[in-house]
Amino acid sequence: MIALLRRDLAIAVRAGGGFGLGLAFFLVVVVLVPFGVGPDTATLTRIAPGILWIGALLACLLSLDRLFALDFEDGSLDLLATAPIPLEAVVGVKAVAHWLTTGLPLTLMAPVLGVMLNLPGQGFVWLVISLALGTPALSVIGAFGAALTVGLRRGGLLLSLLVLPLYVPTLIFGAEAARRGAEGMAVNTPLALMAGISFACCALMPFAAAAALRVNLR
C-alpha cells in the first residue's frame, strides 16, 4: 500500500497532472474574483472565505478525472483489483494521494491568497483549519465520482455534474466555519459538523467507490 501511495504521488508530480495545475487554477480563480465584484476591500473582506472555499473546491475537481483514468486505460486497475489488498484500500490510497497533491497544497496556499482578498487577521487560522478538515472529504467524494465515470469517454463533464451536488454539505459547513472565524464568531458548531461529515465520508465513501469500480471493471 505504501508502495502504491508512493507510485501515485510520483505519477502526480512527474506527469504534471493535478499538482501544479490545481494550484495555478486556484490562483487564477481568486485573482479573477476582484475583477468580477470590484476592488472594494470591504466587499472582498466579506466574501473572502466563501471565495477561497469555492476556489479550492473547483481546483480539487479539476484533477479528479485522472484519479483512476490512467490506471484504467493501461490496465493496471485490473491488476490492482485482483491484488491481495482490497479494492476499498486501493481507493483509499488513491484518495490520500489526491489529497496530498491537491488538498494539502491548496490548504497551505489559501492564506497567501487570503491576504490578496483582504481576509481579516483572525480568519486565517480558521480558514486553514476548515480547509484542512474539509479537503479530505472533497477528495474521497471525488474518488467516488471518478469511480462512477471511469469507463466513459467524456467522463470529465459528467463527473462535475455528479460530484458538485455531493459537495454541498461540506461546502456549506466549511465556508460557514471560515466565515464565522473571519468575523470573530464562535466556529465550534459548523466546524464540528464538517469534521463529522469529513470523517464519515473518509470511512464510508471508499466502499461506495470500490463498488462502482467493480461494476466498471466487470
Partner: protein, 255 residues
C-alpha cells in the same frame, strides 16, 4: 403440504415477485395503465378546477393560496419519486430484477419535472408573498439541490452504454445521493433559517390549513400520485420495449 405456513408464505412471496418478470409486468401494467391514466386525469381535473374556481381567497395570502393545489402535490411527488427510485434501485442491487432498474430510470424525468414545477410555482408564489422571486430559503434551496441530483442521475443513465452497468452505477449513485440529499437538507437548514411556513399538511392541528382548502388539495394530491404512477408505468413499458428492441437488433447483427 399446502398448509405449511412457510410454504404458503413462500408461494405468496413468489407471486409478488412474479410482477418483476417483464412479460408478466407488461400484461399487468397494460391492463392497469388505462385505469390509472383515467383516474389521474379525473382527479386532476376535479381537484384543480375545484381548487381554482371554487375556493375562497385566504385572508392573508389573497388568491395566491390557489397555487397550493399545484405546489404542494408537485413537491410531495418530487420527493416520493426519489424515494421510489431509491427502493427500486435497492431491489435491483439485491434481487437483480430488470424491471425494477428500468422503473427507476423511468421515474427520474417525472421526478425532475415535478421538482421544477414545485420550484417554479414556489417562485411565483414567493414573488407577492415574500417580495422576491427567489430567496435562498432552505426548502427552496433543497429542492434546487434535488433537481441537480435528478439531472446527474439521468445524465449517468444516458452516458453509460452497457445497460446492466448503467443500472448498477445509477443505483449506487442513487443510494449515495440519497444520503447526501438528506445531509444537504440539514446543512441548508443550518445555513439559513427560512421564510417558509411550517408543514401545511402536518397532523399538528394548529398549523394545518382550513378544511375549505384541504379537501380539494387532497383530491389534487391523489391526482398527482396517480399521474406519477401512470407515467411511470407507461415509461417503464417503453423502457422494456426498448430493451427488447436492442436485444433483437443485436441478435440480428449476430445471425
Amino acid at each position: 403440504m399446502q398448509d405449511d405456513p412457510a410454504a404458503l408464505k413462500y408461494s405468496r412471496m413468489k407471486s409478488l415477485w412474479e410482477y418483476a418478470n417483464p412479460k408478466k409486468f407488461m400484461q399487468v401494467s397494460g391492463a392497469m395503465l388505462p385505469w390509472a391514466a383515467g383516474l389521474s386525469a379525473l382527479c386532476l381535473v376535479v381537484g384543480l378546477i375545484w381548487g381554482f374556481f371554487f375556493t375562497p381567497d385566504d385572508y392573508r395570502q389573497g388568491s395566491t393560496v390557489k397555487i397550493i393545489y399545484l405546489h404542494v402535490p408537485a413537491a410531495l411527488m418530487a420527493i416520493n419519486a426519489w424515494l421510489m427510485m431509491l427502493v427500486t434501485s435497492l431491489i435491483w442491487l439485491v434481487r437483480r430484477h430488470h424491471v425494477s432498474a428500468l422503473a427507476a430510470r423511468a421515474a427520474a424525468p417525472v421526478g425532475l419535472v415535478m421538482t421544477v414545477i414545485a420550484l417554479v410555482t414556489g417562485a411565483i408564489w414567493g414573488q407577492p408573498m415574500w417580495g422576491t422571486w427567489w430567496a435562498w430559503d432552505p426548502r427552496l434551496t433543497s429542492f434546487l439541490i434535488l433537481a441537480l441530483f435528478y439531472l446527474g442521475y439521468m445524465a449517468l443513465w444516458e452516458a453509460v452504454e452497457n445497460a446492466d452497468t448503467a443500472a448498477d452505477l445509477t443505483s449506487v449513485l442513487c443510494l449515495v445521493g440519497s444520503v447526501f440529499a438528506l445531509l444537504s437538507r440539514y446543512a441548508v437548514l443550518f445555513w439559513n433559517q427560512g421564510l417558509h411556513q411550517g408543514a401545511s399538511l402536518s397532523l399538528d392541528k394548529e398549523e394545518n390549513v382550513a378544511d375549505v382548502f384541504y379537501h380539494p388539495l387532497l383530491v389534487s394530491i391523489a391526482g398527482f400520485v396517480l399521474l406519477f404512477f401512470a407515467l411511470v408505468l407507461l415509461r417503464t413499458r417503453t423502457e422494456i420495449r426498448k430493451r427488447r428492441l436492442q436485444a433483437l437488433m443485436n441478435r440480428e447483427r449476430m445471425g
